[in-house]
């Protein structure tokens, strides 16, 4: 297979194309514009459709329509652009439309900054739009994973008839690494669930919209909640390093997990027993990973590019508050490895107060 050096964002776009994406609509915003730029020429090459919508709201709803017709369709954004898409995404969920969205996180509230961040965690995994839902959320931490996750995302969405979110960040999106290209998947948009033209007098037209309009609400609710519980049980993914004998365990996703892993490597050489749990799915949160933590572990530290330590609450739930939990949340920068190791050392020595959840 062919190996190319590309940016994370380009890999994400190419992965989607090779995974059968034939409709993309979006609106430019740093640091994810390379996805849109790549799609603008690549869709033409593969006989797909690229639309630069007049806004994020238009784009997310175009994707709804294309996906309802059966085509593998996606959109992407960042920061305030991702906020604008939330209403549309909630409609995808209620209609059971297996579309894909990528958010390449920037840092900041409102307009924010063009550089990387991880402060969209709450918005991404705790809902975003209205109603009881989570998106199946994948968090790549390399250029290769940007490609692989996008490549797989439509099948995952179709398996559950539920949207998938790829939650990347500005660093993973902008960095370049060698990336191996998988074969192009063929996908037939003529799916049993898709809307198709119906000739006059030949049966009923299929309407794909908020499903609760057409079904008994209690019946719909029961099926939906059963599905969501099953996703929660079946789709947890994570990676772990050196957790068996770890005195302190780091928990990090995306770019922070790369720094955390380096910190573990350096610390272990110095005899400091650090370990790492790297959630690959952020919803469902990989609670199973935390079952293996040894009882002598002195603390769990999340490493995050935000101010409030947004992921901390999920860690506390995962360990039922049985271990002291801390957040090393350093806003728009990932803490350098020295700082990570020094913080973990202080946790080991019992010199840090447990971090409160916001």
């Amino acid at each position: 297979m062919e190996t190319k050096i590309i940016k994370g964002n380009e890999a994400l776009a190419e992965g989607a194309v090779r995974g059968g994406c034939r409709f993309y609509a979006g609106y430019p915003i740093t640091p994810q514009s390379e996805i849109l730029e790549w799609m603008s020429w690549r869709q033409k090459e593969v006989g797909g459709v690229f639309v630069q919508g007049e806004s994020e709201i238009a784009s997310v709803n175009m994707v709804f329509a294309a996906r309802a017709l059966g085509a593998r369709a996606m959109t992407s954004s960042s920061g305030p652009g991702f906020s604008l898409k939330q209403e549309g995404i909630a409609y995808w969920v209620s209609a059971g439309v297996p579309a894909v969205v990528a958010c390449v996180q920037r840092f900041g509230i409102g307009d924010g900054y063009i550089s990387a961040g991880q402060d969209n965690y709450w918005q991404a995994v705790k809902g975003g739009g209205n109603g009881d839902y989570h998106l199946i959320t994948l968090a790549p931490n390399s250029v290769q994973e940007c490609l692989d996750m996008a490549y797989e995302s439509f099948e995952l969405a179709e398996k559950w008839m539920h949207p998938v979110l790829i939650l990347s960040d500005g660093t993973i999106g902008q960095m370049m690494e060698p990336c191996t290209m998988p074969v192009m998947k063929e996908y037939d948009m003529d799916q049993p669930w898709a809307a198709k033209g119906t000739a006059i007098g030949e049966g009923e037209n299929k309407v794909i919209t908020d499903i609760t309009y057409f079904q008994d609400i209690d019946e719909w609710n029961a099926g939906y909640i059963e599905k969501m519980r099953k996703i929660q049980k079946d789709e947890q993914r994570w990676e772990e390093f050196n957790i068996d004998d770890a005195d302190v365990i780091l928990v990090a996703y995306g770019i922070s997990s790369r720094v955390a892993q380096r910190s573990v490597e350096i610390a272990r050489k110095k005899g400091i027993k650090l370990g790492l749990i790297r959630p690959i799915t952020l919803w469902p949160y990989p609670r199973k990973a935390f079952e293996k933590i040894n009882k002598n572990c002195k603390g769990i530290v999340t490493l995050e590019m935000n101010m409030m330590g947004q992921m901390l609450e999920d860690v506390k739930i995962a360990v039922s508050c049985k271990f002291p939990c801390y957040a090393l949340a350093t806003a728009q920068k990932v803490a350098p490895t020295d700082e990570v190791i020094a913080f973990c050392q202080k946790v080991m020595d019992g010199k840090v107060k447990e971090t409160e959840v916001f």
Binding site: I5, M176, E177, P178, V259, E265
Partner: protein, 179 residues
């Protein structure tokens, strides 16, 4: 063996390209590599830098916290990165732009090459980054001269800029042979 390299200078000096060439050569040699850029909104004149990691093993963090090599095209690069560099590390300094009396840490080797001036004499100031790459390859043990020249050319070919390869090799050798 992990090499943490920072290429830094001003926008328009070709520091991001220098880093991309290193990454491309590393990949061709079967090494693991990452490249991460940082730059301002300006196309020219603002600070520009990239972190290049090259290793025998999978690279965890793409951030060069403690550089082994600083590829410095402008004075600001030295001011920004020298303090975090490892003991025994090396600075490849473009001494046309960085003042002659610049003070450096005494536990760092500094190779001063007037890359911009050499490139001007050679007839193309924009080759200063390639001149400095020549000096870097000579004074570090990351790449051999033959490999670097070969794969630098294949990098430019992959970018549709292969017709300047003869010139690029000349610029590279001027830097390589300077000290």
């Amino acid at each position: 063996m992990l090499n943490e390299i920072v290429c830094a200078g001003l926008g328009g000096q070709g520091v991001l390209t220098a880093g991309k060439i290193m990454m491309h050569v590393a990949l061709e040699k079967g090494l693991h590599t990452t490249w991460f850029p940082s730059y301002g909104n300006e196309m020219r004149g603002g600070a520009a830098n990239c972190n290049v990691m090259i290793s025998d093993n999978k690279v965890a963090s793409p951030y060069a916290d403690h550089p082994d090599v600083l590829f410095a095209m402008a004075e600001r690069a030295v001011d920004t990165y020298m303090k975090t560099m490892k003991k025994g590390s090396i600075i490849i300094a473009n001494s046309t732009i960085i003042p002659k009396d610049k003070e450096y840490r005494d536990d760092i080797t500094v190779i001063k090459v007037p890359a911009t001036e050499l490139a001007q004499k050679f007839g193309n100031e924009r080759s200063a980054n390639i001149v400095l790459l020549g000096a870097m390859v000579k004074h570090t043990c990351i790449f051999s001269k033959e490999d670097f020249e070969k794969y630098m050319c294949s990098y430019f070919e992959s970018q549709g800029k292969g017709k300047r390869n003869e010139q690029n090799i000349k610029a590279f050798e001027i830097g390589y042979n300077y000290i």
